[in-house]
């Protein structure tokens, strides 16, 4: 972005929104919106508290486990669906349904099935992330250049060779795109899980702060979460750009 010929650093529009926030906060329009400066001061206090660190750890654990399962199950499932008509016809309707249903409505069922603990939260996170990962891996495999597969077979590739040396790499740009969106959805999943299933982690912090009207604490934790989600997404976008050189040329 440039302004009057000056190159503005990336995301400088955020500064503008930050200023707007500060102004509204200073005008004391609503106690829900404390000034940004106050939120930031609180943020530095909050991150040092053991409650925050415990919440961060609990959330990271559930989030990483959920992302891990959705990747490890999602990518091979998607690749298999892309390769095999029968598997595709069996699974595709379910994938599409789960991608679009409001998963929050399913959480009570999970609680009945898996209890009120970490397991249910991890499963919720997985359910939020996995479907788009499956779908993208499937699309990535379906657009693969047939002659690459023929080439590998003609040189005697076993199905496993074809899987790890051709299908995976050919679909990698789409797979990474799916993983990025899946991870963003996993952030949603882990927080919703923590709020609905058992009040732990950031869910507990949100509950605590909003019940006690600690608005700047509330916003501070939310900012931390936004920043985390944003950094993870940017990191993956960076990875995606590393394979973009061949994405258009398969």
């Amino acid at each position: 972005m440039t302004l009057y010929g000056y190159r503005l650093p990336a995301m400088s529009s955020l500064i503008l929104w930050g200023l707007l926030w500060e102004a509204i906060g200073q005008m004391e329009v609503s106690f829900f919106v404390p000034p940004l400066s106050e939120v930031i001061v609180t943020l530095f206090e909050v991150v040092q508290t053991s409650a925050f660190q415990k919440a961060l750890w609990e959330t990271a654990y559930a989030f990483l486990a959920g992302v891990f399962f959705s990747i490890v199950i999602g990518i091979p499932t998607g690749i298999l669906m892309g390769k095999n008509r029968l598997i595709d016809e069996l699974l595709l309707p379910w994938v599409n349904i789960f991608l679009s249903v409001p998963l929050t409505a399913l959480v009570p069922v999970l609680m009945v099935l898996f209890g009120f603990g970490m397991t249910s939260i991890i499963i919720t996170t997985t359910l939020f992330a996995i479907w788009i990962i499956i779908l993208n891996a499937r699309v990535g495999v379906m657009q693969i250049n047939r002659s690459l597969v023929d080439m590998a077979r003609s040189f005697g590739a076993s199905p496993w060779d074809a899987f790890v040396k051709i299908y995976f790499w050919a679909a990698l740009p789409e797979i990474l795109g799916g993983v990025r969106i899946g991870i963003i959805r996993a952030v949603k999943g882990v927080i919703i899980g923590q709020l609905l299933i058992s009040i732990v982690g950031f869910g507990a912090l949100f509950e605590l702060y909003s019940n006690n009207f600690l608005m700047s604490h509330f916003w501070a934790v939310l900012l931390v979460l936004f920043a985390l989600a944003f950094s993870i997404s940017e990191l993956l976008a960076m990875l995606e750009r590393r394979v973009a050189y061949y994405a258009a040329k398969r």
Binding site: S154, Y245, K249
Partner: protein, 264 residues
């Protein structure tokens, strides 16, 4: 003037590397090959020439073991084909290079799949990269190469597995005319120097006559061999004089006369 022989008389005495017997192939409703029988003499280049959609690629893929015929058998070195094998290597029309791998890995990929150790396969690949004139491009990626260079990579990959039979599906159709002529000359010396059997699909009558020991004219679908032409006099000639040779010109005319009826 030596007219090309129509009857493949010397075949009986030469050794047959690949033979197709009564091969039929249908795709659903489409009958691509019907009762096709053809023999490919060892150490020679046979072109498959015929109208588009007549089943040339289908036949090549059946020989490669990538497709199963509905009936009939393929034999390579006297053994029936049941799938892809180390005795055959394929050169693809669209090159089929791994876009995420360097030239070195692409050329060594056939050996990689056959389980050859990394240092060994890279030594072999390096030799063939040099042979096809790509020395210095080992670390380049396919998208950094021209079409002609990409096909050289595909050729080097097929050569590096040292298969007896090279199956080439319109390998030069995606490169420019100058490169194509250079490739045709290179192919002639390859046929002469390597004791390999080449099965070569092309759309170009001139190309077929220029490079082939034997040309199989195929009928439109369902495909059978309509005629075998052996421009035998041309193989003794110097590569620079072939295109001016009366036998070359006559053979081109004759094939055109035969194929013309299908085009009209």
């Amino acid at each position: 003037m030596a007219m090309p022989q129509t009857k493949p008389a010397p075949v009986a005495t030469t050794d047959i590397a690949v033979s197709a017997r009564s091969v039929s192939k249908t795709y659903g409703e489409t009958e691509a090959l019907r009762d096709m029988t053809i023999e490919f003499p060892r150490g020679q280049l046979t072109s498959l020439l015929g109208p588009s959609g007549c089943g040339k690629t289908t036949l090549l893929k059946i020989i490669a073991g990538l497709l199963e015929p509905n009936s009939g058998t393929i034999e390579v070195n006297g053994k029936p084909v049941t799938g892809p094998g180390e005795d055959r290597a394929f050169v693809f029309q669209d090159f089929a290079l791994l876009p995420w791998a360097s030239v070195m890995r692409n050329v060594a990929f056939g050996l990689e799949l056959r389980g050859v150790a990394k240092s060994e396969r890279e030594a072999i690949a390096a030799k063939y990269i040099a042979d096809v004139g790509l020395k210095g491009f080992e670390k380049s990626f396919p998208h950094e190469l021209s079409g002609g260079m990409r096909q050289r990579v595909g050729l080097a990959r097929a050569l590096s597995v040292n298969a007896d039979v090279l199956l080439m599906d319109e390998p030069f159709s995606a490169v420019d005319e100058q490169t194509r002529r250079k490739f045709q000359e290179d192919l002639l010396s390859l046929v002469q120097n390597e004791n390999k059997t080449f099965i070569f699909v092309t759309h170009s009558i001139e190309e077929a006559v220029y490079v082939s020991d034997q040309i199989a004219l195929l009928l439109p679908r369902p495909s059978r061999v309509s005629e075998i032409i052996r421009p035998s006099g041309l193989r003794m000639k110097d590569v620079d004089n072939i295109r001016r040779d009366p036998e070359y010109l006559d053979t081109v005319d004759r094939i055109w006369a035969l194929l013309r009826s299908y085009v009209e």
